[in-house]
């Protein structure tokens, strides 16, 4: 079987020879390794390699997509993609124009590949020892994974882009158990290839294990409406779930009713609120130079001074909405077509300090750290890994983890204070359309939300 370079060279001139409005190909080679601990023992260590690719064709507004592991006989795959697109297409093909790009992106960040598995394991052993040094623990899980992908993107309009991507994730959780009761605390982080953040976690791991044990004796919050303060990690999940997904144009572009809801200029939040998505910020998990349609990454203001000013686009959604492409079409790997996704999404820092924010709260909830989040566009829920009551302007007793839920359109308006301490959370992964987990980052300073519905975890 040819390697991806040989296969790409064969495709380069061929893509424009077919009867289609547009054809692109993405070829990919990847290597991964993972180490998992469950309890005191290493549970699994594995390595994998993959070679694959896809062809995507557009004919009269209809798409055909073919993915494969076998790189032989690519002309047959192209024919199939074109045939499928032809069967679908009954309209007009519209793609926002972009300049063809010929580029080879290089990266210093192939770090994890050069670190022997033995060294990674030694580090995880240290963390596991710290976890198991904590009395009262029942079990623990550690999951480490790294991957390095090399992709080649080609299009019938002449783009030829080589791009690497490295991603590292580490997730640790400690589980404490008491009388018929189980509680867990988590720590998760990731990086765009730099292994060094994984090395400095000894103190955080110890705190995590202690938290799991402490939660067993913590009370459950009484469900209801509260003034809620979110830490940067959780506020980042909030901005991703509560607003980010709604700004993805593929939900909006062919839905007239939703287009009216998401009309540019509409007020979504207070004047102090600015929300940005940017793959162009270097070094974060959602960063890249070109998206999976070969469009250069941009910095996009989604909300500026409380008003909707932009949204995330693929070439198709941009053309159909008469807006500029933003370079947000991403695919998890060669098995999937690119769809509109977030990259690095964050709330810009404001002026207040953390103490200013909690000072006036008589009874509220301080929710920290990330556990999960999901959205239905109108409604969102996300769960905190840690929570405390706020009483008379001070952090009071610890609570069991809480789940926060609300309506996107009212909750953003209920943000009434934004601190200056922006921090990016690199530990998440985003799921959409069956593509999970896509590397993203999100962040925020501390924020305060009045009237947020809180349920016990």
């Amino acid at each position: 079987m040819p390697d991806i370079e040989t296969a790409a060279a064969r495709l380069a001139g061929a893509l424009k020879k077919y009867k289609a409005d547009y054809i692109e190909a993405r070829l990919e080679r990847s290597q991964r390794s993972h180490i998992t601990y469950r309890g005191k023992e290493l549970e699994s260590a594995g390595r994998s390699t993959a070679v694959g690719g896809n062809i995507r064709a557009l004919v009269k507004g209809g798409w055909g997509f073919v993915s494969f592991n076998d790189l032989n006989d690519l002309p047959r795959r192209i024919e199939l993609a074109v045939k499928q697109a032809t069967l679908v297409g009954k309209e007009e093909s519209r793609l926002a124009p972009v300049q063809p790009v010929v580029d080879t992106v290089t990266s210093k960040e192939d770090g994890p590949l050069n670190i022997p598995l033995a060294e990674k394991k030694k580090l995880l052993d240290e963390y596991n020892q710290i976890i198991w040094g904590t009395p009262g623990l029942r079990t623990s899980v550690i999951g480490y994974a790294d991957s390095h992908q090399q992709t080649i993107f080609l299009s019938s309009t002449g783009s030829y882009i080589r791009q690497p991507r490295t991603d590292i994730t580490l997730r640790l959780s400690a589980v404490a158990a008491g009388d018929g009761d189980v509680q867990q605390a988590n720590l998760s982080l990731g990086s765009r290839g730099d292994f060094s953040p994984m090395r400095r976690l000894h103190k955080e791991v110890e705190e995590m294990a202690n938290k799991a044990v402490a939660m067993l004796s913590a009370p459950q919050v009484k469900g209801g409406e509260y003034t809620v303060v979110l830490d940067p990690v959780l506020a980042g999940v909030f901005v991703h779930e509560a607003f980010g997904h709604l700004s993805e144009s593929d939900f909006v572009y062919e839905d007239d009713r939703l287009r009216q809801v998401m009309v540019l200029g509409k007020k979504f939040g207070p004047k102090e609120l600015n929300i940005i998505d940017s793959a162009a910020v270097p070094g974060l998990r959602g960063s890249y130079k070109y998206d999976d349609e070969g469009v250069p990454a941009t910095k996009t203001y989604l909300i500026k001074e409380g008003k909707l000013v932009g949204r995330l686009h693929s070439r198709e959604t941009a053309a159909k909405m008469g807006e500029k492409p933003t370079g947000n079409a991403r695919a998890m790997n060669y098995r999937y077509p690119p769809i509109v996704r977030m990259t690095n999404t964050y709330i810009e820092p404001g002026q207040a300090s953390f103490n200013d924010i909690i000072a006036g709260i008589k009874e509220g909830v301080y929710a920290k750290n990330w556990f999960g989040g999901t959205t239905s566009m109108e409604m969102f829920t996300f769960s905190a890994g840690e929570a405390y009551m706020i009483r008379n302007g001070k952090i009071a007793e610890a609570l069991r983890p809480v789940v926060l839920t609300g309506n996107v359109f009212t909750t953003l308006n209920n943000i009434d204070a934004i601190a200056g301490d922006l921090d990016m959370n690199q530990g998440g992964g985003c799921g959409k359309g069956g593509q999970f987990p896509l590397p993203v980052s999100n962040g925020s300073p501390h924020i305060r939300i009045s009237r947020c519905l809180v349920g016990g975890g």
């Binding site: 390595r47 509680q183 469900g223 009713r257 999960g372 829920t381």
Partner: protein, 433 residues
């Protein structure tokens, strides 16, 4: 494959090669029309070895790089978990019908037509609804050989249909949907459309529930989103072995309501989660998990079973290409005596939960769940009066399942993985605004 096994045996004490080759094609509909046709060809090759008593593991996507595959498996075996089991020798498997050549033979035009008809039935009821739909077919060939002489090989076909509708009025959004799958082709859209149309009917009027303790009926889809994730974790032999399952030391004890029986069953003909053997070559069987409220068994793969000094239940699963781990094949909850209508008639003020969002984010291990009612209805004086919004429910799976008022008389498949009747719970904590 035989070649890989032979080379691996030279560098290890035991080896196993597992291969899945799949071809799938799907027609995808957006905003009520066909938008995209996708075909995916894939091969997945996994090598598991035991070297100096330890497990090594590597995967790849083709047979080109056998050397690298073996090298990677050997490298990981330096650190791998000590292997406590032996690979199963050649054995006989139950005959389970899971392949229908009619799936592969279904032309794209028929898949397109089925999707269109489904969308037409729903838009005829509610013209302003926008539907996404998917009609897909897949054929999968699974092959396993190991150095103990074990061999397994089977072919499976899967046909699936899903539809998701959104109805937007201002910033008020309603989401409805249903999906079905089978090893036979699905040809009629009516059954699926009926479920969606019923959701639209019940959600027509807005309603609100008070904050407090209310009786709740979980529909099969509601039970799947709220209650099942915790049970899946709790009955996993690995969770039990680690002492993290709340029911781990309750084998033979009555923990749940006597009206509940639950089992794992990979042997039902033409169900997408059925198979003659698991991903380690252990024969499929039906495994009771709850018998009339009593904890009956946990689910095991080879390694976990060996560590727990018991036998594999044939639940070794390689989901996502990972090392085998215990996982249910398909969970079935036995139907009870009460019709859904009678449950609703019995309630003066309460809630029907059709879909709960975010429940899986809670403390799954402890059984706590909490979520936003994405689709749910208010019951007033024995009747469904409308859709509730801005409502959150929370509770604990073990408390809910310890005392049920009734178990529904009709079980339904949800997402191919779970078959359950509606469950009627006397009280649950509800918060609304």
């Amino acid at each position: 494959m035989e070649n890989i096994l032979a080379l691996s045996k030279k560098v290890s004490e035991a080896a196993e090669v597992f291969e899945v080759a799949a071809e799938e094609t799907s027609a995808q509909f957006e905003t009520n029309r066909l938008k995209n046709i996708q075909s995916k060809q894939s091969t997945h090759l996994a090598l598991r070895i035991i070297k100096e008593g330890r497990l090594g593991y590597a995967t790849t996507t083709g047979r080109d790089n056998v050397k690298e595959l073996i090298y990677n498996a050997v490298e990981t075996a330096r650190f791998g978990m000590p292997a406590k089991f032996e690979l199963p020798p050649l054995s006989s498997y139950p005959r389970i019908d899971i392949f229908d050549p009619a799936v592969e033979a279904t032309p794209l035009e028929d898949m397109d037509r089925l999707g269109q008809e489904l969308i037409e039935l729903i838009t005829a009821h509610t013209p302003e609804i926008l539907c996404e739909a998917m009609v897909g077919k897949e054929t999968e060939s699974v092959k396993l050989i190991n150095s103990s002489g074990g061999q397994a090989e089977y072919k499976k076909s899967i046909f699936s249909v899903g539809i998701y509708g959104s109805l937007i009025r201002g910033t008020d959004m309603l989401f409805v949907g249903e999906s079905r799958s089978s090893c036979n082709p699905i040809t009629q859209p009516q059954d699926i459309a009926r479920v969606v149309i019923q959701q639209l009917e019940l959600a027509k009027n807005p309603a609100s529930v008070p904050t407090g303790q209310l009786p709740v009926v979980f529909t099969p889809r509601g039970a799947a989103s709220a209650l099942v994730p915790s049970l899946v974790t709790a009955f996993n032999g690995k969770t039990v072995l680690q002492g993290a399952s709340p029911i781990g030391n309750k084998l033979g004890k009555k923990v749940f309501d006597a009206k509940i029986s639950l089992w794992d069953d990979p042997t039902i003909p033409y169900r997408p989660h059925s198979r003659p053997c698991d991903d380690e070559g252990v024969a499929s069987r039906r495994t009771p998990l709850i018998e009339h409220g009593m904890v009956a068994n946990f689910l095991y793969d080879l390694q976990t079973a060996a560590l727990a000094k018991t036998k594999s239940t044939g639940n070794g699963d390689r989901g996502g290409g990972s090392l085998p781990a215990p996982s249910p094949s398909a969970l079935i909850i036995a139907p009870g005596q009460t019709s859904m209508d009678d449950m609703i008639k019995d309630i003066k003020e309460g809630l029907v939960i059709e879909q709960l969002m975010g429940a899986e984010q809670g403390n799954i291990l402890g059984g706590d769940f909490s979520g936003n009612v994405l689709l749910g209805y208010k019951i007033e004086s024995g009747k469904i009066v409308g859709r509730v919004k801005n409502t959150m429910v929370s509770g604990n799976v073990y408390q809910v399942l310890k005392e049920l008022t009734a178990v529904g008389s009709r079980a339904e498949w949800v997402g191919g993985f779970l078959c359950t009747p509606p469950l009627y719970c006397p009280r649950l904590s509800v918060a609304s605004k």
